[in-house]
Every structure is written in C-alpha cells, then in structure tokens.
Symmetry: D2
Subunit: 355 residues, 4 copies
C-alpha cells in the first residue's frame, strides 16, 4: 500500500462493516466490538435473519442485506469479509475500489489470478488488504517466529504438521483448501524468507464419497535438504494440532491442545560422533539431546483474532501493510493451486509459482 | 512348509541357538529362556566378549563365535537370527539347508531376491521360516486384527501411522528400512487380505548429512478409494507411536505410549445428510460420531516377543507355517524395495510386486 | 416455593436484572442475553464504569448503580446476584421481599443463619431461589448423576476430588470457601440422597502469609464405610480438575481438562477370591477390572451456565423449585461452616448440621 | 556403622544371598546379578520351587530353603531380605549377628521397637544396614533433592503426593503401610533435615471389607506453615504417581508416568502486590508465574534399583552408612506407627517420635 497515506484522524475509531454472518463472522464481529479503535457500523449478510441472530437482541449495530449500502456509507472505512471463498475477490475488489480497507478470511481467493487482482487493486487504491491468517497471531506462532528469526533453533531442517479431527465435510472445497491454509500461512510467517518452496506434491483420498479429498498430505522440499509435510484430515476420530519444527540446534514441538504447555523447546541436535575408531566400521551418527533439557516458554493467553484485528486497524492508522497482507495470502494461494494440480495428477511433484 | 512334517517328540523342549548379541539378541534370548518349550543351547556372536556379556556371569548357556559349530550341533533344531540385515539371507539359508527351523529379525533380508530365495529354501527343506514381526504379537495389534476381520469397524478406509522419535541414526539402512517394517508388517497382519498395495510413493530427507534418509513418508493407495500413510523419523524430539485405522463403521486409534488405554474404538462414521432442502444449495456431508461413545477394549499385559517366540515354537511342533512366515516377510520386503526405488526417483509413484 | 404460583404469561420473556459486574457477572449476562426466555433489562453495579464496560459500547441494556431502582422496576421479575458473598443475603432478601425471583452465585451466603433466612423468605414470598451451582449443569455431572442414580456403578464407595491450580488469592475468603462449594454442590447433586455427611475434618495451610488457608483438604465419611475427600489449592503450578467416583460395580473418572474424554467408566470392582486354599494363609482380595473395558460416554458440548440459566427460567415459568435451589445451597453452606470450625480447631472432626 | 571398618579386599566381589523369591526378590536378584561388584551365591526361600523358578533353568546360582545354611556360608558377606515385613527384624538381626551386612525391603520392620533393635544390632556389629527405599535412587528424586538442597526452589512450603492405582489388596498390611513408605522415604530423602514432622493425622476407609484400610490420606504439618499430604489408594481405576513440591521460589511437579518429562520446574511464586491503592479495599495477593517458564531437567534413564544396589555395595566397601540406612528406615517407621494410631482414633492428630 501507499505508505504515505497515513490516517490523519487517528483519534477517531475506524468505521467497520462485517460482511458474512456464517461460521467466522460472529468471531470477527466480537473482536472488532471489543477493540476501542473500531466502530462497528454494519453486519451485512444476504440472509437478514442470520445477520440479526448474530448481532443479538440487545445490539445497536445495524444489519443489512445490501452490500452496496455498506460501500456507500462514508463512515465505513474498512470492510471485513467472511463469506464463502468464491466471493472474496469480487467483494474485496468492489470495497477497495470504493476506497475501503479490506480484511479477508482465508483463503484470500480461490485462484492465484483472483488473488493477484486483489493485491493490485489494493496497491492502486492505497488501501490495506489483509488476509486473516489468524494462527499467525497466536502467542505460540509469534514465539516460534522469534525462535526461528533470532537463530535460537539454528537452521530449519524440517517441519511436520498434523491438523486433523472429525468435522464437517465442506461442500465447496476439499480438505486441503479448507485446512492447509492455516499451516501454509504459519510456514509463511515463521520461515525466515516466508513460504518459498519451489515445488510440492499432494496426495489425498475421498473414502466417503464426498466429491473431493477428505484426507490430504502435502510434501514440500525446503531448501536443499529440508522438508515440510502437512497432514490435514476431516475423518480423524481424534483431534490433533501438532507441529514439529526441527532445527539444527534445537527443536520445537507445538501442541496447540495443551494449554499449559503449548510450546516445548528441546535442546537437541545432531552430534556427529564416530562410535568406533575402526575405520572399517561405518560411522554412526547419534542424534542426541544436547543437554536433554526441555524449556516451555511463557506465552500470554491472548485471543489471536483480537491481535489480528489490532494489526489490521494499526495497518490502517499507520498507512502500512499488515503483517499478513495480500502478498502473504497470495503465497499461500500459489501453494494451494499447486496442490490442486498435484492432487489431480495423482501426487505428481508440481512447481509453485513464486512471488 | 511341508505340513506333514509334524514334530514327533513334542514333549522335549526344542533346542535353540541365538545368533547375534547386539541390540535385539538379548531380548530374544530372554524370551526363549522363559519359554519351557525351548532349550537354549548357544549364544553365538563374532564377538565372544559381547556374547559373554549378554548371557551374564551366572548362566550355563554356551557361547561361541563359530556359526558352523552351532549348525553342526544335532540338538539345535532352531536357529534365531538377530544379526545385521545383510547377513540374514546367508545365515538363514545355511541353517535351513542344515535342516534347522529359522526365526529372523525384521527385515527378512535386504532384497526381494534374497527373501524369495529364503522362502524357497524353507519350502524345500520343510522347515519353519518365521520373520520376527514382533508388533503383530502385541495384544493391541491382535485386537485390531480381530476388529477388522470380524467386520466391527466396517471396511478399512484409511490408515495413518506415525512412528517417530529421537534415536540412533543407523549406518547401514535409512529410516524407512529401519522403522517402516514395523508398520508394513502390522498392515500385512491386520488387513483382511494382507499387505496388497499395488503401488506406493516414498519421500524422505537427510537434513543432517547421515548419508541416507532420516525422515520418511510413505503413501500407499488401499483399494479404490483408501490410503495408507506412514511417517517414520529418527529426528523427532518427541516419541510418537500412533496409528489411526479409519473404518466405514468405526475408527480405531492405537496409541502405544498410553499403557492404560492403548486402543480406543470410536463409534464414528459418515452420515450422509443433506443439511438444507434447498436444491440449489450443495449438500453437506456430516462425518459424525454415531453415538459418540468411545470404548477401550481390555488388553492383556503380555510381552509381544514372548508370544512371537511361542508362535515360532508352535509352528515347529505343529508342522505348520508361522503367522508371520517368510511370505509375510517377503510382502514387507516388496514394499520396502518399491520405497527405495521411489525415494531415489524423488517420490515417484512406484508399482509393488505382489506375491 | 409455592408450587401453585405458576407464571401465567409464559409467552413473554422474563425481565431480568444482573447485579454485579465483577468476575462472574459478565458470564451470567452473556447467558441470559442468549436465552430467548429472558429479557435483560439492567446491569447494576456500584461502579458505573465497570457496569458500562461489561455491557459494551453496542448494547441497549441499561446500567445503574441504584439497586433500589432495579427493585422498583415492575418489569423486573428476576434478579441475578453476582456480588461478593457477604452481600448475597441482604441483596437477595430485599429482592425476594420485593417479589422478585432470585439466582445467587455460589456460595449462597457466608453463614448458615443467613442462608436459612434466605430460604425462609423465598418460601414466604413464593419465589424461586436458585443457587448457581454451575457445575451441576455440566453434561459430565449430569451423566455422573445418571450413572449413580440408575445404579450402573453400584453403591458409591468413595469420592476423591482434586481442584487445584495457580490463581488469585482472594482477600475475602479462604480457598475452601472459594473452591470447595463446587465439589460440595456436585456431591449434593450426584449422591442419591444429596450431601448428607454427618461430620467432616478440614485441614489447611497458608504458607504464603495470605491471612487464610490457600491449600485445603476436606475429609467426609460417607455412610458406614465410604469417604469423600477434597483437595482445593490456589498454589498448585499445574491445573487439575479430576474426580474419581468409586462404585461397588464400576468406577468413574471425570477429568474435566480432557475435552475429548471427560468421563471414563471403568468396568471394575472387587472380586473376593481366596488365592490359596491353605486355611493358614490369609485370603487375598483382588480388586480387578471385571472386563477391563473402559467406556467413555458421549457428552454434548453445551455450556453449563446456559443450562443453569434455562433451569432458573423454567423454575419461574413452572412455579417450582430449581434443581439447585436454596436448600441445596444451604446444605453446601452447612458443610462449609463445619469446615471453618474444623480448620480453626486444627483439623478436628466436626459434626455437620443436616437439613 | 563403625566407619573404621573399611573392607580391605575391595577388588573381590561381595558375596550376596537373596532371601525371598516373592514379588520383589526377583528384581533384587536381577540387579545384584548385573553388578560386577557382587557375587550372588544364594537364592533362599521357604518354597524351593519358587526359588528355583526365580533363578530360572539356566542359572548357576544355588537355591536353598535353609536360612541357617546361608548364614553359615563364610563367603556370604551380605544378605538381602525381601520377605514379608513381619519377618524382617528376626532375619536381619540373625544375619547381622552373624556379621553380615543387610539390605532390607521397605518397610524396615513392622514396629519402631523392632526397627530400633535392628539399628542397634547393626551399630554393635559394625555392619551396613540399608533399607531399600528404591524411589530415593530414581533420577527424578535425586534431582528433586538437588533442587531442594541447593536452594533453587526456595523453602519448601508444601508437598502433595498421590500414589494410587488398582491393585492387589494385601492381606498383611493396610494401604498406608504398603504404599506410604515410598512417599515417606522420599520426603525423608529430599527434605533438608529429613523427615522431621512432629505430628500427623491419618484417615482411611475399607469400603470393600478387606479388613483394613484400602484408601488412606495422611496429613503432616511441615514446619510452621507448611504441610505434606499423601493419598494412597488400592481402589483407584487409574494409576497416578504425582508429587507436587511447592517452594517459595519455584515449584516442582513430578509425574512419574510421563517418561518424556517426569520433572517440570515452574518459575512460580508469590508476588505480594496490592492491587488497589484504596486503603479500604483489602489487598489481594497474586500467586504468579514469575517468568511463566517451565523447565524440564534432563534425567538419565537408569534403573533405580541398580543404583540402590550400587549404594549398598559401596557402603560395605567404604565402611560407611548407606544413604538410606537403618535410621532412615526408622524415621519412616515412626511416621507409619503414628499413622496407625491416628487411623484407629478416627483421624486424630498424633505426635511422632523423632529420632
């Protein structure tokens, strides 16, 4: 965005409209309502009753089914879009062309072409286009990023993520498009250079006849010798939310379902030790705990979406890009599009367009 | 094996020699010593001191470094081989040609060709050739097999296995050859028709410069719409031993590190429910807990290796094949060999020879 | 309450005022707002700003610092009190004397005398007096009650509860008065005859100089041979919320921090087996798993406080006592008062007045 | 013991006899067999067949049913007693009077009088009398002791221990005498001045008609303001082995069933902060995480009993008392005897004789 375009009247709260009263809209609404820097003016949904239910009986917030009315309201400076993914691009483009800042639920769009269009329009109109990569704003991911960026864990050697549970089979997207954006956006956020794989392979199956993959695996080489692997699954009886980040110096295990110890940092690494001085014997490498100690860093218990909302508002007030801006959304989209291609080709390794 | 060749003197314990005093040999020794149907006569290792240490100061068991002496002992009816994999085939063939029954540590051999030779020699000489697929004899796997075979969980839709921890990087094999035999042998044991995938893809990396993959992922289509996926890893800071078996009627989670509840059977399955009668809306499938109930079956606390030893002795006494005979070992080898090919080809989907 | 006094205009929502905008008030507010049977008219707190913050910027709910104004509002039929415990009795009595139904946060009052007064006034004025024993409305406790009442677990032999974590040291009550009401109200709810211990012993310490016990243990004989034991603790580094209910036929473990399996029912009981027929040897009793199976019943994921609010509204509409009425609160108070006496006497066994 | 009496022939292994082939004897046997400093000469049990089974078919160790023969063997320097508790005193005294060093399974004896006699005889004959308080030799307890002794956790404010599971109901002792010796010996080992409570209260019940308590709770004041509390239980469907050691600076949680993280040290303590400067308001103390960090120290995976055996042998070779000598056993006995008195008096606070 045009960094010169800093908001002059920072004292006044930013007028906001929430679009979409489905699954995620109420969470966005609640977090914008809590932020004193926002003034929520509209809840907009094609279904007026759903919008009405979401704001509740005691609210002064206006509801509408008319998106044009929202865009026409000069007090609306920012539009927050939580509608089905296929509508993200047209709704966001219209809002940005009306001079509004836009926050979009993930994924940014349903194609790289659409996503690129959105990024261009944002640049053209000098507005903030933020993709709601909520997980990037969790204290756990913020800490992981810090540990990666400051070199604490050494170079990242591999990442293994498991995001599985029993859930609703979405009619409009496969499990990879539904769940992998979380992991891809986290990788983009914590890796020193962002999500820059050059290729990936995706496999998936639809054992229940849903019409698209309900279980998916993604494999992405990282650098010369590393690997990221994602497992996403709507059919798992147990819920797992675990990510291992293997570094050359330390390793991190993030178990998001353990509130008392979400992050564990293991003082672990490779010791190249020849275990026998007989040259005829092959050397053995021992991967050892350096000290064996595990440290679980302190994490604040803040709601990630509240921090995401604050970042969006700050990007507007400070006339800068959000931490997870349109380009971040676009990098995730590129990986998703490559996964779609790979999946249709039976798991073939597929190049990823890099931005 | 030649089923007519039943052992006549069943009353007398079977004379046994243990070959190899490395990592696994002591466990085999201990379990054969506990079984009253065996008479352990020899502990044989090229390193006499190692053999001596393994039997201990108080033992009457003879040690030797001479394999030929073992084979020449007419009181030795069975030879138990726990040496490096590359020596399995020559040692086993020599023993079987000397008329001895053979139990071999996994993997059966280092190539399908060698394994097939072993199976042929066993048939020719009418001896029992058993592969020590220890996990198949755990109460958990025995129960899983029962639940699959009796139809309790419906048809198997997918299997996801994670077998990871921080360990010794073996000099003579990659992580797939080291750890995946466990999972492949379990699949062979619990699937109604054994391990019959037609193809697989393997990816792996060596981030630490060990000379071969230290992290590996295997993907195997199961039937028309199913999938088995294995994750094996020497570089994980946490130990995980979990297998999910998704069935059309129920799902099983096996967590081998939870002694109080290793198996959980979820009354879970797909309910195809149209969530909206508006024909324009796409149907949504809800994967639901049928009743929501979880049942953890009772499992005896028996040592798997003790049961494996008992099965080997029974196969000799009853003149029959062991439950995990040479052919089972061969099916696992075929998958491993396909994995080796796929890995070297960058993860290409590779056909598996089926026996 | 006077059961004849059924509410005639059941169609109209019940006018409600929330008193107290501290820790618990916002939760009550949110749940009453969600219930269509309630019409929240007032949020009342001595601190207007706190009340204002709690309702938020977008709410139409009126705030006030004048309790008299609330009582004077004829549209207020029910008053919900979430103020410090010492004010429960005067506020509740005033409301009931003004003809209002009353829901009070636990504990009912700070003395049995006050609690009894409240119960009498409720009876006199024919209003519903409910104590907010929230845990009794969790799906887990409802299921435990069912398993106890229908005889599934046999007779209750012992109950062991641990409710510990690191928290705020309250200035106005010790840890027993703060946390044990949860456990005591659960016992009152699930035991077939309610909380009817005849005596108890309490021990506690104040290692940090807080002025009252921060760690407490309560021991209450149950029947002839049973026992209930509670551990409450503000100084534990880990959070534990576990209750074991030992029955003669089955045993229940409730681990409230395991959302995927809060309740486990063990098919376990005593087998009186003489292990040796030598009459000189003492018999050994084996407490065994009958079948060894664990069953985790399905539990809905409903918010307990929402169910408590529904029960309060239903008690008003149906002119009946609430499931956790003033008498339930009084039984809990009697135990707390005995605990206070025992604690001051160094853990002496103390009789409990029974109602 | 007489410290001047150092063993002269340290090079030769110490001749050992194991008395008792019941539950614990085989474990002692195995660990003495593994230690090169010991020469196991006898396995002695009244039941020759049981002794024979324990040593196994391949052993050169002699068995006997004659205790006198063991004592008469001049090559036996040390006797290891793992018989029912009631026989500890006579067997140990006889051995010590025959000049043998003695290691006794816990509890040291069944009365303080017997225990004191044993300690006196040991002193008189200048032999090592060690009580097998195995848990004191676990890496976890060794580390706890270090953290307490070096001041890392500040002063010990409270200890809460839970040792419960479903097990055999012993005919000859209640659950307190069976399980609490573990906890009492640990307290004796880790507390800076040993187990020095001045009084305790014990409550217990026998809901199944076993003839003595199957569930027990012990409460012991520690110093002026501290407390130790033990829960031991044969009737719990789940196994729990957890001890919390609350210090003024840090807190330790020891969960013995979590092999990957048995010890967690919480940087936690009391911050006395007045939360409001209004003098009319009472101050609130916040017990806070100082930094919030959890550190899990590295622990070696050694077998505790092997270390206990090594300590016993070292005490003989070095002519010194063992770390858990007869006096340690006596302090544990004193607490057990007070518990017996308290239990019979319905939980009355009972003084403990201190040595």
């Amino acid at each position: 965005m045009n960094d010169s375009r800093e908001r002059t009247e920072q004292a006044a709260p930013i007028g906001v409209a929430i679009i979409g009263a489905g699954y995620w809209g109420p969470n966005l609404l609640r977090n914008f309502m809590k932020n004193p820097g926002a003034d929520v003016r509209w809840m907009c949904d094609l279904d007026a009753e759903r919008a009405s239910t979401v704001i509740g009986r005691y609210s002064r917030i206006a509801i509408t089914t008319e998106y044009d009315a929202v865009l026409a309201d000069p007090d609306v400076e920012a539009v927050v879009i939580a509608t089905p993914a296929a509508s993200h691009a047209p709704l966001a483009v219209a809002a940005m062309e009306a001079g509004k800042h836009v926050m979009v639920e993930k994924p940014l769009a349903t194609s790289v072409a659409d996503g690129r269009k959105m990024v261009e329009v944002a640049a053209e109109h000098g507005v903030s286009l933020m993709c709601d990569h909520t997980y990037c704003y969790t204290p756990a991911v913020q800490e992981i990023r810090r540990l990666v960026v400051d070199g604490s864990i050494g170079s990242v050697q591999y990442i293994d993520s498991v995001r599985i549970n029993l859930g609703l089979i979405r009619p409009d997207s496969d499990v990879i498009w539904d769940l992998a954006p979380h992991d891809l956006s986290i990788l983009d956020f914590v890796l020193p250079e962002g999500l820059r794989p050059t290729r990936l392979a995706a496999s998936g199956v639809d054992p229940v006849g849903a019409g698209h993959a309900c279980i998916g695996y993604l494999t992405m080489p990282l650098g010369e010798r590393g690997l990221a692997h994602l497992h996403v699954n709507w059919l798992s009886p147990t819920k797992v939310r675990t990510m291992i980040i293997g570094g050359s110096e330390k390793m991190i295990v993030w178990d998001d379902l353990q509130p008392a110890q979400r992050l564990s940092v293991y003082d672990t690494g490779v010791d190249l030790s020849v275990q026998d001085d007989d040259p005829d014997r092959q050397r053995e490498l021992r991967i050892g705990y350096r000290s064996g100690e595990i440290v679980a860093p302190a994490l604040p218990e803040t709601e990630a979406l509240g921090s995401a909302v604050a970042e969006f508002l700050a990007s507007i007030n400070e006339g800068r890009s959000a931490a997870t801006d349109g380009n971040a959304g676009l990098r995730v989209l590129a990986a998703l599009e490559a996964a779609r291609f790979s999946l249709s080709g039976g798991g073939v390794m597929t190049p990823i367009y890099n931005f």
